[in-house]
Subunit: 494 residues, 2 copies
């Protein structure tokens, strides 16, 4: 076996000293500050070919350590050409994933502390700040009383709305079966429901949790891309009649495709009547509820069993930060609880503390509430509201331009900051238009299909997007569309 | 609906400017450097009562933003008293969760870039650096060829070994059922196997994935706390005879309780013969394989279908960073793949790129490979080896003291850096000894039970632990034990 040797005292230390950390830390901060200043100079969508970044990296890891300056220099040489700039004010694709100064620095301090908050005892501040800040958020969004930790429920930070949906589904599954699925496994009878417009994470969760994709009912939507409640009720009734066990409905506040808004009050009434768990996925649009004038979009939320929204999208809090709430925390904890001997401790056994390991899939957890706390305190509620209102106003202005232009049309309602639109020239024009726009590097948009038609999505929510960025984007869209139409006409008339 | 107004130009910006970010960033870096210098001054285990940290926080969120200096000052006033200091060299509890300068700064740069690596196109560098660095790690640990991305498999960063185990289990489930579980759900016939000493995350994964806890067989261990392969083979055979479908075995390289080492070659032979997926959880001890002399612990790994280890434990890479490898990536991707229209893109459809969203539970992902790249380059392979050897040597020296002392005994084999030991005075002495040691604030140890007996765990692996910390810990353990024994004798002889 290994012998204790003098190796302990004779080797170099290798670690960065606190003074070195100060020096290199300043350099890293400077690098980010410069990046913030220069981000608009880069093509928004990375223009590299597959394998190009890897080809710049040595095939073998270094045997000896390298100076920090050399490592930092490779950020420019190796990494930046392969970055798609989510922090560019010209990023209009998908939904935003916003960083901000206070979030970055809150996360930095969390990394410096390096605590593991799996149970209360392994850092009480990590657990208690999280509970507290999520109660703040519940006030800020005017969430129903049951979602506050002082009531029967409470909030927890998850990595993403995907994981939140999976946790909600597991809790629903166990509530419906009296913990029998946890004990004996699924038996193919449980069914789940969401709309055809819901995020793919619902389908993924249904597969992971052992329900099976065939037991997920994709409910039709109306012309506003909102779930049809009559169809939901009919499908639940049909399943019950066929011996199935309906256990979970996921409704969406702001679908990914088109920002469709499911009618929560009506869906909630069906769920209550049927005893089915209602989860509400407000990943993107939940942030809007910080502003009282947008809270109507979440009307009926008091009927939900769980809810999530992502400050890492539209609330200037670095990924990952999904706020997940349950109305009855016992349902969640019973479904996910484990307690091996090596984690037993007095605080847990007293029942006086929260152990967040029982509110999530993994055991370990970072101190993510720090960045959220920093963001709320830096901006203040009014500062956050101002930005939401600004982004919504910019999107509504853009929508006005779409409607006023004879060659373009609005493709879906735009209640907030996502505008779905298309050129009237058909799918080929729109697809080529998107490719051309993104290849220009000047901006980045993404697409979807609505009623089978290729549709462009203009998502306005990046931290630094200003009116002139949106105006420049629209000018480029119009000019590029004219060029694309001309090209396609040339091909057709030789 | 909302009107475009002059609000856009008249409101204050609220955002931190690049210059402000520089100033506050330096302050945050200084704060961490000071924390590094002073960490030994704090009690290792936080000494606060439940609710104490929350009581220092205002009940309502601030309506107006606050100055950064005020926020930073609360790190000292509010947060630090509630921190259990995982980065203290006197932290000997659980397993380590090490931070280091290069990891913190790599993570800081990732936060500054703020990219979302869910698919290749949303930042090619995020995907390609990850694939590349995980190939480096495969070389560093001498993993079997199939785990390299140039072969049939490859690696991906997960948040934790819990999530890695769940992904492995889902892939195994779908391989065993020809994707029928994903389609129609579980049917109660699938069975899984691990030892009585395995991590609780295996049980949690079996519940989440819809197999049911009753279908998880906890196989007995031998006197070394290693899985008994004869019992495994017998149990699989019995299940098959009873119409069950054995699909998943999880073996452990370094159990959490006692660092027990399951015999991979023998377990692998059974799995191959039975067509059962073998997952190997080397969360803590995998790091040791950086040193050639410890690779014998992973002998037989070429028979595994998946493998994981956590650089966020013993390799100076901030949580979260679990490296998860599969030998056949198709099995994993088929089980977890989703492709909604709004994520379709040319690169994905070309088949020339990896989209890591199909290798994990959530959709979104951070640029976690940056911190791992920084760590490997800063320390170099030789630097990392030196620290592993130093920690193992320190643990072996500690073990020598335990063995030599008449009042103490070794409780389990200690092949690496975890020493399980106990006072010969019985459970009451050991439990009170642990409480007294942790309440002193001078160090933090945790416990387990082995063969029903209360056992102390001395886990040596914190980044900055030196010989004198271990020596001081032993002196305190011996002195405190004498005091505890005297107290208990006094109670018994009034």
């Amino acid at each position: 076996m290994v012998q204790p040797t003098e190796v302990r005292t004779s080797i170099p230390d290798y670690h960065m000293t606190p003074d070195e950390f100060r020096r290199y830390g300043y350099a890293a901060v400077d690098w980010i500050a410069s990046y913030m200043q220069e981000v608009e100079r880069y093509p928004v969508l990375a223009q590299v070919a597959p394998g190009e970044i890897r080809s710049r990296l040595p095939a073998q890891p270094p045997m000896e350590g390298e100076p920090f300056d050399a490592i930092l220099a490779d950020m420019e040489r190796v990494i930046l050409p392969g970055v798609t700039h989510w922090q560019s004010p010209n990023f209009f694709a998908f939904f935003p994933a916003n960083a901000s100064g206070p979030a970055i620095l809150g996360d930095l301090l969390a990394a410096g502390l390096g605590v593991q908050g799996m149970i209360w005892a392994t850092s009480p501040a990590c657990t208690e700040l999280e509970t507290h800040v999520l109660d703040w958020m519940a006030q800020m969004l005017a969430l129903p009383p049951a979602f506050h930790s002082s009531s029967t429920g409470g909030g927890v930070i998850q990595d993403s709305a995907s994981s939140a949906a999976l946790c909600a589904l597991i809790a629903a599954r166990e509530r419906a079966t009296g913990l029998a699925s946890n004990a004996r496994g699924c038996d193919g009878r449980l069914t789940a429901y969401t709309s055809t417009q819901a995020h793919s994470s619902i389908e993924k969760a249904v597969k992971i949790a052992g329900l099976g994709q065939e037991n997920l009912r994709l409910i039709e939507v109306d012309e506003q891309y909102a779930m049809r409640v009559d169809q939901l009720a009919a499908r639940i009734a049909a399943d019950r009649a066929a011996g199935k066990i309906p256990c979970f409905v996921s409704a969406t506040v702001g679908t990914t495709s088109s920002n469709g808004m499911d009618p929560l009050a009506e869906i909630g009434a069906v769920c209550r009547a049927e005893g089915v768990w209602l989860h509400v996925d407000a990943a993107m649009s939940g942030t809007a509820a910080i502003c009282p004038e947008f809270r109507y979009l979440q009307r009926g939320l008091e009927l939900a069993d769980s809810y999530c929204f992502n400050p890492h999208k539209w609330m200037f809090t670095n990924f990952d930060c999904d706020c997940f709430y349950v109305a009855d925390r016992r349902s969640l904890i019973q479904a996910l609880s484990i307690l091996p001997e090596y984690l037993r401790n007095q605080a847990t056994e007293s029942g006086a503390v929260i152990d967040y390991r029982d509110w999530q899939i993994p055991l370990g957890r970072r101190f993510r509430s720090l960045k959220l706390w920093f963001v709320i305190r830096h901006y203040g509620v009014e500062g956050l509201r101002a930005h939401v209102r600004r982004h919504v106003a910019l999107a509504q202005e853009f929508l006005g331009w779409v409607i006023a232009h004879p060659d373009f049309e609005q493709a879906a309602p735009a209640p907030l900051n996502l505008v779905c639109f298309r050129h009237r020239g058909g799918d080929a024009v729109n697809q080529r238009l998107l490719e051309r726009l993104n290849a220009s590097g000047a901006l980045y948009l993404s697409h979807t299909k609505l009623d089978g038609r290729y549709t462009l999505r203009m998502s306005i929510g990046q931290t630094h997007t200003e009116a002139h960025h949106v105006a420049a984007a629209w000018e480029r869209i119009v000019a590029t569309a004219q060029a694309v139409v001309a090209e396609l006409e040339e091909v057709e008339t030789p």
